[in-house]
Subunit: 422 residues, 2 copies
């Protein structure tokens, strides 16, 4: 029986201590964590093999195992990311909106840690390290709850981080409970965690739509929902069609199982007859198959990889080499389709008409809106944040990729000369 309230209380106490850490101390701690992960590579991979064997015994596909569970090819990247985060600027302590009011009060806002993060994630064990690293860099304590498929890997990774904190021997700055892993796959602990609003300041779910819905329904703590991406590109009548093909190819095929990959291609009627067959021809060799609404289908008679779109196909995040195709009469019809079917994650227009680009950007209310670029750019490192803990599709606090600054809040600092309010 795990006492989650006790874990929460310890995390809260740890967060108070972490708030004292200097940027240099935090960067040093991260570098020690990277060293420790390197030194412990063998034990990490042994634990990972236990998870992989169990997954195989349960019949998991080799694709799933390779893409999600296996750490072997991800170890060096994971460790390099820890060192990279150490090099990023520390947002904590930075001051903004500084000014002196007419009455002489000096007012500013200062960035502070959120306090305690609760992160609930599925599959990829490197998330354990990514999240702990970003939390420590921003002086936040973290409660981690990983997926059952890589339980052993997660446990070993969390323990290496905790052991490193212990070895730093600065318990008043880096208490071991700054990083805590819930060592059980029992779902009841997720439910308990979601109600620890006394101790946890933000819940970040990382996983599928059902995890996000579960958190939204059951949490008394603010939840960053996101991750689900039904993403669109609209090929305007004025698009550079030759240039559009590689953008569409990249958006669909570069990593089809991630949230910013393309799900639906909307094509203006004026270029549909010419362009749709070229899309099918260009993407089919990569294994892409297509779901076309009737008008799009009419331009694609006989193409083997094309079938008629079914009910709900335009409301599906494919996560696979499948692409929806639809012909639209106008920019308005394109933005209206996006309004109805997009998850407001990543949507774009391919056009050479500035006015159309501007209207699309104005009217499409998604976390990231693209003009003549692949939707795949919607993540923290691709947009210049240097890291990413999640991609938010809700509108509070942060929208789109979240990195270090998005793990902070601020306090108002008001300095007076014994000012009283009139």
């Amino acid at each position: 029986m795990i006492d989650l309230t006790h874990m929460g209380r310890r995390a809260r106490l740890a967060s108070h201590k972490l708030a004292r850490a200097s940027t240099e101390q935090k960067n040093h701690a991260l570098s020690k964590i990277a060293d420790a992960l390197e030194a412990c590579a063998d034990s990490i991979l042994s634990a990972n093999r236990i998870d992989l064997d169990a997954a195989r015994a349960k019949g998991a596909s080799e694709t799933l195992i390779r893409d999600r569970f296996d750490l072997e090819n991800r170890m060096s990247g994971m460790i390099a990311d820890v060192r990279k985060v150490a090099e990023l600027p520390d947002p904590v302590g930075s001051v903004f909106d500084q000014r002196t009011l007419d009455n002489g009060l000096r007012v500013s806002r200062r960035r502070t840690p959120l306090g305690v993060l609760g992160v609930i994630y599925e599959a990829r064990p490197n998330v354990t390290v990514d999240v702990a690293t970003l939390a420590l860099k921003t002086s936040n304590a973290v409660l981690l709850r990983g997926g059952s498929e890589v339980f052993e890997s997660n446990r070993v990774l969390a323990n290496i981080i905790r052991d490193t904190l212990t070895e730093l021997d600065l318990p008043d700055i880096f208490p071991v409970d700054a990083v805590q892993y819930i060592e059980s796959t029992d779902r009841q602990y997720v439910e308990q965690m979601l109600r620890l609003h006394q101790y946890i300041d933000m819940i970040i779910p990382r996983g599928g739509a059902s995890l996000h819905a579960f958190c939204r329904e059951n949490s008394t703590i603010p939840v960053i929902t996101g991750g689900l991406g039904i993403c669109h590109l609209f090929v305007d009548g004025s698009a550079d069609l030759d240039a559009a093909l590689p953008v569409i190819f990249n958006a669909k095929t570069q990593r089809p199982a991630v949230c910013n990959s393309l799900d639906t291609l909307l094509v203006h009627e004026s270029v549909a007859a010419d362009f749709l067959p070229r899309v099918v021809e260009h993407l089919s060799p990569a294994g892409v198959s297509f779901r076309a609404e009737p008008r799009a289908l009419s331009h694609l008679a006989g193409a083997g990889s094309v079938q008629a779109a079914g009910d709900g196909d335009f409301d599906t995040e494919w996560m696979a080499l499948i692409l929806g195709l639809k012909v639209v009469n106008s920019l308005d019809e394109a933005t209206e389709h996006i309004r109805q079917h997009s998850t407001q994650h990543s949507d774009g227009i391919l056009t050479r008409t500035t006015e159309h680009a501007d209207r699309f950007v104005d009217e499409v209310d998604s976390a990231a809106v693209f003009v003549n670029a692949s939707t795949r750019f919607n993540d923290g490192s691709a947009l210049g944040l240097g890291a990413e803990i999640a991609v938010s599709t809700q509108k509070l606090h942060a929208r789109g990729p979240m990195a270090l600054e998005e793990l902070t809040t601020y306090k108002w600092v008001v300095i007076g000369d014994n000012h009283v309010r009139g």
Copy 2:
């Protein structure tokens, strides 16, 4: 039977239209609303009198009626506030973090409306106008749910605003459903509203602790909790005691029933014997009574307005002319007391020692931290925001006073030259 889903859907559609309004159009609409409120003063006050009569019949105190329900003395201020909001800068559309990445992608973030606000409030009917005004200024639609005590006042105010929107005769920009009032005091509609995450982007409760807790427990929409303020001032050993008295007086007595008023005074032991009797002498004539822990009490023997602090007194938001008194041995003990008892709303230090001020500001994690100033300054207009829709004591999205910018989110705008991700 009110169909709240239908109201939510109409609000969402209205928000899409409102997003097209220019700053000039919005300011014009606000000025028309102010005109209409002026023109309809009689009918507003008649409706208000119905509420006041009903409140008196139910035995509400005249103080409560005057402070919370009565619009008579508040009308001109309420209307002036609408005109003031029209003059504030419009955050919607402003661009920040604009930069060109190494690969040539032009990335920026653009402020956009949140979409639909859900505001649940108690008592003061002017909130109906305040909230609708701030929502319209930021191109947000709003669902309003007011308190039962001023139901008639709220209904008339909401209808005047809706009629003005109709008279603008720009239904594609200012649809009447941009402002909707739930015309029922049945609690079931609050519960239904809290689950309309498909249509509402942010819930702002304005009321007591139980309303905030109810929203946090039952909402599937992000909630801005706040409002509850157990506020502290710490009189350091080096404080200018003569100057401290008026600050304490102001923080406690200027408006005792609001959230940023002072609840507990912590006094350093080195000045307690001298200063505590002066505090009692200075504040008693204004009707303040005191709850002192034993050590503070020992310095105040015989003062009629002083009694021993009981269990929970230091965890009480007084909302009245009562002040807790406690002697502490050190700055550390003061910050530790604040950590344990503060609601992280407004806490301050009175000191002439810069190092102590800095440590206090570093270690006290409250929405607003004050040095040599009254806690009463923690609101939107006093801190230079020009308005206020709520004071947040949670840490996501906004902390402390929330005004126009806090009613917006942003979208990432990414412009490329047919960029693909490598």
